[in-house]
Amino acid sequence: MNLEIALLLGQDGIVNGAIYALLALALVLVFAVTRVIFIPQGEFVAYGALTLATFQMGKTPNTIWLLLGVGILVALIDTIIAVRGGNLGRLKRIVLWNLVLPAVVVGLVLLLEPGKLPLAAQVALTLAIVVPLGPMVYRLVYQPLAEASVLILLIVSVAVHLVLAGLGLLFFGAEGSRTTPFSEAQFQLGTLAVNGQTVFVVGTSVVLIIALYQFFGRTLYGKALRATAINRVGARLMGISNTMAGKLSFTLAAGIGALSGILISPITTVYYDTGFMIGLKGFVAAIIAGLASYPLAAAGAVLVGLLESFSSFWASAFKEVIVFTLIIPVLMWRSLTSHHVEEEE
């Protein structure tokens, strides 16, 4: 191995690490607020990338029908609950968010011929389709289980993953897709050729991480989420609804997932089941951070990315063996150095 190869591998590791970092942040966020280990995060990556790719092929993505269907289901359930509780004032909101919004998005997709729109508009439409699925999934699946144990929530997450991956196969088929790059530029950094898209990926990740940091530190909703993460009962007593916090965190997670998918689809092929492995690596990073610290999660993500990149050079057949075996000492070190409450739950 010479310096140039090392640099190229390093660059590769950092780009992958940036994506893992984004997913790790979303996982930490969702876990802190809802105690859900959000395994279906990966499916949002695939849905984002493949919905965009379908637009670019000039076709209509089936995800719009999913959005519409799930929206109707949520509206139905919430309406029944609202009517039973005599809480008719909520109906307007229910209809607006779960029926009108999806209908508008579906209408736009069907009318506009998104394949011919500029990239930014395609991305916006993609996000408008995929992101609302996040809070809807929370409403349908996790809200009734809000007080269940972490293990149950985890198992339910796996079930949601199965459903979404199965739908992914149905919608997009088994073959993968790529999207057109945001930037075709090539830079020369010393001897190192840098691809414009990779700069874009790393840059967006950094910007998003900073934006999230600001969101939690500065805004009311961000602070509400942090309060819920620290003390659910306390936050509720202070008037912060756990349901609201849950939906908000799932919205953010879905948004980050879809965006990650959109970012990587020009540099790699995305399949309906790509998300699981990417999500798993994000999960590794999140765990390294103890499912608590955002900066550590980002650092862990880059570590995983680099490990992967270098081990695929040294012994590609054993790549996963190397990555996951090397994770264990890191976990041991983290486990021994981090304070933890012995008797949780």
Partner: protein, 587 residues
């Protein structure tokens, strides 16, 4: 008899199934049996022990590959291959357990994912194991010259293995070691303070679960006569966890119910969906996931707890405690001898000094009270003495030996029993069993004899001791109540009974009278006087001053982590420093 009826019906149905059912349904039952064995290990490990593992499929793989390789490449007998496989699995589990079981909280599940994936890819990349393509021509299993070459013939060996494993697990859980295992989830700190080596107990259940998985893998290899890596990947590891949780992770029969339900559900979906949606398109996994979500939303603890509400209970233990020979007692120190001496103890949490320069002594046959305002550091002192949270510096001598660096389970072994300020009990276990944990160190029979129920004499003596101590504290009428259902005051009394079960010569009681009514307090005071009369040293933290002053021989007063006064009860009551501390700011 009626109690066992459902079980009998079930066993008879099992026995006649291969005769009545077609080959395919026998195959399904075979798979259910194989899955149940693995899920049973997860019940023990995850449901009961609280350790989530995604990696069980890898252990199944170890069992399958061990026999696959040995029987095809070296023509070893499958039975010998089973033993070698079990030994190999035990060693691997020991190493992995050593590395990953120290991982706390969420690090553990990820650790299991990590080695689960590693082993999977290792199976696929080792040429002598047939690589990703797999090993073929694994020989047929023979038993006394009888060839188990069809699913029907194989059926009995699988189900005998499963029922044996269920029986052994159930036996184990209803034993001394079993109580220690059940205490792991949510009671680790308490169990350590009662003398349980929780690290060892965790390793033990980890190895048992791995061995179950290995047996399942061995059976799988000889049933299928073909092994390749896909049945041992992470997805399947997750599915085993699915089975345990859906069935009811806290119950041994939950494993069987979960494995059965998931296998049947998949089969049913495979049959019915093409008739609805046609032959193209694949909806099975989607509907499978949806149904699991609905099941878990309806029955959070799994199917089994829901089922026993419908069926007459099959799982309840015995309702009488048999008379048994009392356990041997330790030699008590002579009354008046110093049993505990704390010298200049200091405890620091981060930058906060909780205890500073604390010194005190307790003699055999006296009640020493440790009092002080809230936050004075009394409970911290208790934790330092009992080894729950060791001192930062200073010296603690117990019965003439230094103990400040020992683990809490070593200290209780030397004869120091304790209760907790915030009650630590296992709410769903019976009062009797909770108290029997205290007697952990007074038994010695291990996991194997417990699984085979060879330790019943010792077990009877332990339970009889627990019953005796419960009667002493006045809870003789609550032996089989769920501990969590007792009012707080009685839970404290239960903790005292548990501490007495450790056969202590020094008893540390942290606010024992809190939550008790007047008459109960009087009874407690009477009990403590009696214990003192037997030569026991008692160190007491209590806020009820009438209770303390009526009982204590000597008093130490703490404030801000330091000792501010010491002496006879009437002396400290008059000490102006003490008055200042308690009534401070009055002037």
């Amino acid at each position: 008899m009626k109690r066992h009826l459902p079980l009998l019906v079930f066993l008879v149905a099992l026995a006649v199934s291969p005769v009545m059912l077609s080959e395919f349904y026998v195959t399904l039952l075979n798979y259910i049996g194989l899955y149940s064995i693995v899920a049973l290990g997860l019940v023990l490990l995850t449901g009961v022990g609280g350790l989530t593992s995604f990696g069980q499929a890898a252990f199944v793989g170890l069992g399958a590959y061990a026999t696959g390789y040995l029987t095809t490449a070296h023509a070893v007998s499958p039975w010998l291959a089973l033993l070698i496989g079990l030994a190999l699995t035990a060693v691997v589990a020991l190493i992995l357990g050593f590395m990953t079981l120290r991982l706390s909280g969420h690090y553990l599940p990820l650790g299991t994912i990590a080695w689960g994936i590693s082993l999977y890819f290792l199976f696929g990349n080792l040429d002598f194991l047939g690589g990703h393509t797999g090993l073929t021509s694994i020989p047929v299993l023979e038993l006394f010259g009888y060839r188990l070459d069809t699913g029907r013939r194989f059926y009995y060996i699988i189900w005998i293995a499963l029922l044996g494993a269920i029986l052994a697990t159930q036996n184990l859980l209803n034993s001394r070691e079993g109580r220690a295992i059940r205490a792991l989830k949510g009671g680790g700190l308490m169990a350590e303070a009662m003398g349980v080596n929780t690290a060892r107990t965790k390793t033990v259940i980890f190895i048992i679960a791995a061995l179950f998985a290995c047996v399942s893998g061995w059976l799988y290899a000889h049933l299928q006569r073909f092994v390749n890596p896909t049945p041992f990947g992470l997805h399947i590891g997750i599915e085993y966890l699915f089975m345990a949780v859906v069935g009811g992770a806290a119950h041994v029969w939950g494993a069987l119910v979960g494995a059965g339900l998931i296998t049947v559900l998949k089969q049913w979906l495979q049959d019915i969906l093409p008739k609805i949606f046609g032959q193209s398109g694949n909806f099975e996994v989607i509907f499978f996931g949806l149904m699991l979500i609905i099941v878990l939303q309806r029955a959070r603890d799994g199917i089994w707890p829901w089922l026993i509400r419908v069926l007459p209970s099959m799982e309840t233990g015995e309702r009488v405690v048999a008379e048994a020979e009392p356990l041997p007692r330790r030699q008590m120190p002579a009354t008046g001898a110093v049993v505990l001496e704390v010298k200049n103890a200091r405890k620091v949490f981060g930058g906060l000094v909780a205890n500073n320069n604390m010194s005190l002594t307790v003699k055999a046959g006296e009640v020493m009270a440790l009092i002080g305002p809230n936050g004075a550091g009394k409970s911290t002192m208790f934790n330092c003495i009992s080894g729950v949270a060791p001192v930062t510096s200073g010296e603690i001598d117990f019965l003439g030996q230094r103990i400040e660096t020992l683990e809490s389970r070593e200290i209780v072994r030397r004869g120091m029993g304790r209760t907790f300020q915030h009650v630590r009990l296992l709410p769903t276990m019976s009062v009797l069993e909770n108290v029997a944990i205290g007697a952990h160190l007074r038994g010695s029979k291990g996991v194997l004899s417990a699984s085979l129920h060879l330790e019943r004499t010792e077990e009877a003596r332990l339970l009889a001791e627990a019953k005796r101590q419960l009667e002493r504290v006045g809870l003789g009428g609550h032996l089989f109540d769920e501990a969590g259902s007792l009012p707080l005051g009685q839970q404290r009394l239960m903790e005292i009974a548990r501490a007495l079960c450790t056969d202590p010569c020094l008893l540390l009681l942290d606010e024992p009278a809190a939550g008790l009514r007047y008459l109960e307090k009087q009874a407690l005071a009477e009990l403590l006087r009696k214990l003192r009369g037997e030569g026991m040293g008692i160190l007491l933290v209590e806020h009820d001053m009438d209770f303390v002053m009526g009982l204590a021989d000597r008093v130490v007063v703490m404030e801000f982590g330091e000792k501010i006064s010491e002496g006879l009860p009437e002396e400290v009551q008059k000490d102006p420093v003490v008055l200042e501390a308690y009534l401070g700011g009055v002037e």
